[in-house]
């Protein structure tokens, strides 16, 4: 088990390192100087130089990259240019909205997709299957932010069941969950449609395998064969897609947060872009990328748990 996971771990750590370099260089290419931006164009050259030295901007590029990297490793993402507060704290603060939102959406997507995918695969080619597959086509084509607006129109404006936006913090957990429910549904439904289709086709492909015939010859019914033998084998492609979906959910959350005025990572990034607070953009993007890579590793762990062939290799 160790060699496979060890190899994946090294490979992903390298990915993260290269990603940090890419992010660093892209932000470096930004025209304009943060120090000038912070002090305004009318600042004294000496004050400017002092600030540049304080921010370490007068160092050569590789040195700045290395010191940034070391700083990150110690858990310090730097100071926001605009707010003059530690970026780490800002991001942790915003994560309290973004992470629960993405997790809620993923859980919803899985809860919807699995029963639907199993049902359709079991009734492959029949009317129920065709109907479900048509509905999922519609789900995939829905732009989630538009779907979010429609949800707001119906559930917040017309029916007044749920809030149309905003977030009051976790001190009132009930209200917080209610605020996140519509955004999570808007994010989850299109992903659930994709997941259900992938699960169905993976199940159908697995059901054509020789060992499924063996299981039927043992005396298992079609349904039991599907649940006991096909499902676990079909899980491998499904896990891949779920891993990719998490990154889509994180990115999608950035947009959805704007529909619902949620104070999450996404809103913070857009504010930072507008304020040219590059250190915040740089750090937030790095955190997002790290999250995607961490999820990839979790998916690899899940592969190894499901498939004994990976454990011995």
């Amino acid at each position: 088990m160790l060699p496979y996971l060890a190899r994946r771990m090294i490979s992903l750590a390298l990915s993260l390192l290269v990603a940090s370099l890419v992010i660093f260089l892209l932000v470096e290419m930004v025209p304009g100087d943060p120090a000038t931006f912070m002090l305004g164009t009318g600042a004294q050259p000496e004050t400017l130089a002092a600030l540049r030295a304080q921010l370490g901007l007068d160092q050569p590029l590789p040195v700045r990259y290395a010191s940034w990297l070391l700083q990150i490793l110690s858990g310090d993402l730097g100071q926001s240019f605009t707010y003059k507060t530690p970026v780490t704290g800002m991001i942790l603060d915003r994560m309290q909205v973004s992470l629960p939102l993405a997790l809620m959406a993923l859980a919803l997507a899985v809860l919807i997709a699995f029963p639907i995918g199993l049902f359709a695969a079991a009734r492959r080619g029949e009317a129920g299957d065709t109907a479900i597959m048509s509905v999922t086509q519609i789900g995939i084509a829905l732009p989630n932010f538009w779907f979010a607006m429609l949800l707001v129109l119906l559930f917040a404006v017309r029916l007044r069941w749920l809030p149309a936006g905003g977030f009051g913090g976790w001190d009132a957990p009930g209200a917080a969950l209610r605020s996140l429910l519509l955004p999570a549904v808007a994010l989850a439904l299109p992903q659930a449609a994709i997941l259900a289709r992938v699960l169905r086709s993976a199940l159908i492909e697995t059901m054509d395998q020789d060992y499924i015939r063996t299981a039927r010859a043992k005396g298992l019914s079609r349904g039991k064969t599907l649940r006991r033998h096909a499902l676990r084998n079909a899980l491998i492609p499904v896990l891949t897609i779920m891993g990719m979906q998490f990154s889509f959910l994180l990115a999608g959350a950035i947009i959805i947060e704007n529909v619902f005025y949620l104070p999450g990572l996404g809103r913070m990034i857009f504010q930072a872009i507008n304020q040219r607070d590059l250190i915040v953009v740089q750090s937030a993007v790095l955190v997002l990328v790290a999250a995607v890579i961490a999820v990839t590793f979790l998916v690899d762990l899940a592969y190894a748990a499901v498939d004994p062939r990976l454990r011995t290799r």
Binding site: S11, L26, Q137, P143, I194, I255, T296
Partner: protein, 271 residues
């Protein structure tokens, strides 16, 4: 199941047609603002009503189709143009260092969701439709590289490839003569799907202001601007959304239908 092909073709075709027609004719001038006739409902003069500046929504939607389609087409072109050769190369050198480098590079790009790439590019160079194209295009490269490699790998183990090697053909020639033609069906289907995802992504980027900039009409930005008035005049928000939905649905159905028609065993990357 041929109805998917027909319905998909009709929906996607309508979007193309509207975009093409908008070069020659639109019911009203898209730039023309008339605050007096703002937020009008659907009528004989304004078939799909007007927005908060009194602009004709039908005309804007037609010109917006142009933006969406152009961005998606170029982005798919970038993805295919780089991704397919990389995938062929990786498969030709399977197991070797070329394969390893290409696939690890792919993993790296996959760690950046297209929206994150767009955020980075926008942060660095400012928002524009071109940057949206680049962001979506970059994200398409590993998708096509992976699909091409995945389709090419099993072909490399077949006997007709060995026969070509015995006939003295090199890997490059075999890739072009045997592998590429045999992966083409799959690439067409994947291309359709990426096209629809491109339209969704462009709409999303424009919605948050990272895509096409004013005054270029775009479906995503129409939605963003309509959000404020959604309770007063829902149609302003519903119509552009419906356009995105119908075009994406059409392309997905088309992809599904093409897959069934070309080869039901094709494996396409969903999501």
């Amino acid at each position: 199941m041929r109805w998917t092909l027909i319905l998909g073709g009709i929906l996607a075709g309508l979007a193309m047609l509207a975009a093409a027609l908008s070069f020659l004719w639109t019911p009203h001038d898209v730039g023309q603002m008339a605050v007096a006739s703002k937020l009008q409902p659907l009528s004989g003069t304004y078939w799909l009503g007007t927005d908060h500046f009194g602009r004709d929504i039908l005309s804007m939607v037609m010109v917006g189709a142009r933006t969406s389609i152009a961005v998606a087409v170029v982005a798919v072109g970038i993805g295919m143009g780089f991704g397919v050769p990389l995938g062929l190369l990786a498969a030709a050198g399977r197991g070797g260092w070329v394969d390893e480098v290409i696939m690890r590079g792919n993993d790296l790009i996959f760690a950046f969701p297209s929206l994150v790439i767009a955020i980075l590019i926008t942060a660095a160079f400012g928002p524009s439709a071109v940057n949206a194209i680049i962001a979506i295009g970059i994200f398409n490269i590993p998708v096509f590289a992976r699909v091409t490699r995945g389709a090419a790998m099993p072909i490399w183990t077949l006997d007709y490839i060995r026969a070509a090697q015995v006939a003295g053909k090199g890997r490059l020639r075999i890739s072009l003569e045997h592998i590429l033609p045999n992966t083409l069906n799959l690439l067409i289907v994947q291309g359709t799907i990426q096209f629809s995802l491109g339209i969704l992504a462009e709409a999303g980027l424009s919605y948050v202001g990272l895509g096409a900039q004013p005054p270029t009409p775009s479906w995503g930005r129409m939605l963003a601007e309509a959000q404020t008035f959604v309770t007063i005049a829902p149609h302003v928000a519903i119509i552009p959304g419906l356009c995105i939905f119908a075009t994406v649905l059409g392309l997905n159905l088309l992809g599904d239908g093409l897959r069934d028609a070309l080869d039901p065993r094709l494996k396409v990357m969903q999501a």
